[in-house]
Amino acid sequence: MTDFAAMLGALVRHDVAFIVVDGAAAIAHGSVRLTSDLDIVYQRTSPNLDSLVAALVDHQPYLRGAPPGLPFKWDKTTLLRGINFTLISSLGDIDLLGEIPGGGTYEELLPGAMELSVFGMRCRCLSLAQLIRAKRAAGRPRDLEVLAELESIQEEEKS
């Protein structure tokens, strides 16, 4: 099970530039749906990749679902070779996304993102409108129920 507070804490302590997206962002907006991982869009600048590596290095990150024993090395070179990484760690599951459909990269999402004050720290999270846009763009059947809930939350907040 993912320890959201510890995971966010590791990222914030190392000054990682990231935005919380997907299920955890939905929880922040009031979703009652369960999520088992933390999904973030991270900035792909060289200093931020260093920060991201430092944030997770003590928590044994490894490719989720991959057989044990693969020569996976958690370092900047690995991050430069890919964009999206689905990882398991001692703090739980985390998905690192370079960009998301309907939203784009960290830089593209940042102006519309909101600041969360949670567990005694501050981090950025997709706004409800961004989250809805991203879910619509993803267009997966499993997102239909999520979209219905997010739109209902938006209507509740407007009412």
């Binding site: 929880i27 009031g30 009652v32 369960l34 239909l144 209902s152």
Partner: protein, 61 residues
């Protein structure tokens, strides 16, 4: 763009009918931190129920 966001999708409207709005309204009363803690508690409960279910179905394992 903004008007497109408000476009009504008939499929999503069908899904909305099955939502329990009372649960959503209760969640909206909580702080963001309380929402995360509640989600973690639910995840812990779900994990325990899965474990108990496995044990009940396969008591010898």
């Amino acid at each position: 763009m903004a008007s497109k966001e408000r476009d009504i999708d008939p499929v999503i409207e069908v899904y909305k009918k099955d939502l329990d709005l009372t649960l959503i309204r209760e969640n909206l009363k909580l702080s963001v931190e309380e929402r995360f803690l509640k989600a973690q508690e639910l995840a812990r409960f779900a994990e325990e129920m899965r474990r108990a279910g496995r044990q009940a179905c396969h008591p010898e394992s």
